[in-house]
Symmetry: C2
């Protein structure tokens, strides 16, 4: 197993792993940090859409990831450091001891995503999601229910932020996604390809449980506070989940899961 030992936290070879939290805020110019065994295994898997550029492991974790190191080592440098050096590189105590630096995929354009649309395709559209936990949850759920792609409008946060990737248990790295223009333009593009856009909103009168899809469908969610803009809802089929007294809404990732489960399990309308 070919690994490269790092003993100096200032070693230029591992510069990409330095000061992780600070660079979470400033961005990484097309790169991202994946952390923990589950996520790094997704990055190294055949399902990944992203190229791993380097691994950085604590000495004590090399054995657990032996198969990944073996598979990657010909093309990807695998750096190994003691815990103290690793903590100094990262800038905080890195108990998990497993990091990877990866390249964001070239996101397909919306027209590329919509080139072929099948009757049973399901898409997720997100507008204005600014919370990285919710973004990660959306991707996790989209992957769990086999959504074709997640489409984000320009007001969404970056799904390749470290915490989003972690919360998604790696789904961000294997789910096609595309960031496009405005929510309205996204809706119009989907509808032009025969995809029904379902806006999930507490203001809807149609219950999710009563909704039956007719063909390809896009499930659209908005930010937790203001929700989807009225102008967007009016262009879509509005569907909601009735709440018990005193509650006005669900977490947005939870709402996406309810809709994904419903449209992938309910029978098609006759």
């Amino acid at each position: 197993m070919r690994t490269i030992s790092i003993t100096d936290p200032d070693d230029p070879q591992i510069a990409g792993f330095r000061d992780i939290r600070e660079r979470d805020l400033t961005g990484r110019e097309g790169l991202f940090i994946a952390e923990g065994e589950v996520v790094v295994r997704v990055l190294a898997s055949a399902a990944s859409l992203c190229r791993p550029r380097a691994l950085l492991l604590a000495e004590k974790r090399v054995e657990a990831l032996g198969d990944v190191v073996e598979a990657l080592a010909n093309e990807t440098p695998v750096y190994v450091a003691g815990q103290a050096v690793l903590d100094r590189i990262a800038g905080f105590p890195l108990h998990r001891g497993i990091l990877a630096l990866g390249e964001k995929p070239v996101a397909p354009s919306l027209s590329k995503v919509l080139e072929t649309v099948a009757d049973d395709d399901v898409f997720v559209i997100a507008s204005g999601i600014g919370n990285h936990d919710n973004m990660g949850g959306l991707f996790r759920n989209a992957a769990a229910f086999g959504a074709r792609a997640v489409l984000l409008d320009q007001s969404c946060c970056d799904p390749f932020y470290r915490k989003s990737i972690r919360v998604s248990v790696g789904a961000v790295l294997r789910t096609p996604s595309s960031v496009e223009m405005s929510a309205e333009a996204l809706v119009a593009a989907m509808q032009a390809r025969g995809v029904e856009v379902v806006a999930l909103t507490p203001s809807a009168t149609e219950r999710l449980a009563d909704y039956r899809r007719q063909g390809p469908v896009a499930l659209m969610v908005g930010s937790e506070g203001p929700g989807l803009p009225r102008a967007v809802i009016e262009r879509c089929r509005a569907v909601g989940v009735p709440m018990a007294g005193g509650f006005d809404s669900l977490n947005v990732a939870v709402a996406s899961a309810l809709a994904l489960h419903h449209v992938t399990n309910a029978t098609l309308a006759p």
Copy 2:
């Protein structure tokens, strides 16, 4: 509006609000901290099961909570401090500027909860949930779908932990809950009262979408890692949510929401 001005972070009147994070870890002997406007409004509402003992507000937040202060001030001291004093009391920058100290409710015994059981009652049972975000999510979902109560086995974390309460958007404070013995004993007690216990597990062959309840039902979830113990699953009706390729499970709070939505919206079996 009668409020009490605090200018000394060591004032003994606000001792219960000091060093919030440290005491999150050691516990508060029957008390809890609620933070933020949404949660404090639940605590002060008629739906709350908990008695507020004191409020501590930043000067700039008093006006926004004027109605709450007005309603509580006869029985509950409302302390007001400048931002700098507040930060020193809490031990960290408290941007939200809204805190309350509350008393945990006396949890009803399981036999009390089960004294009357209606045909359309839904319960949530949690076993081994150790993550405070997931615990908060479970309570939020239970309240959103009108579950009668959340029953926890002894291996669960405390739902009155500050972050659980926040993630639950206050549901922890208004949803009856009870901590009892082992998961097996909880299942047996529910079944003895005619409640069907549905164990949510990826190992199930019956799909959640195909399940139809016959009467009162308890939805049981286990910890994300190991899930529910086999011995528990075998005593219950095992139900699962099929995943797309490569994914083996959903977040536990998300799974609870799928089941709650399904059993509260699907028609009863004939």
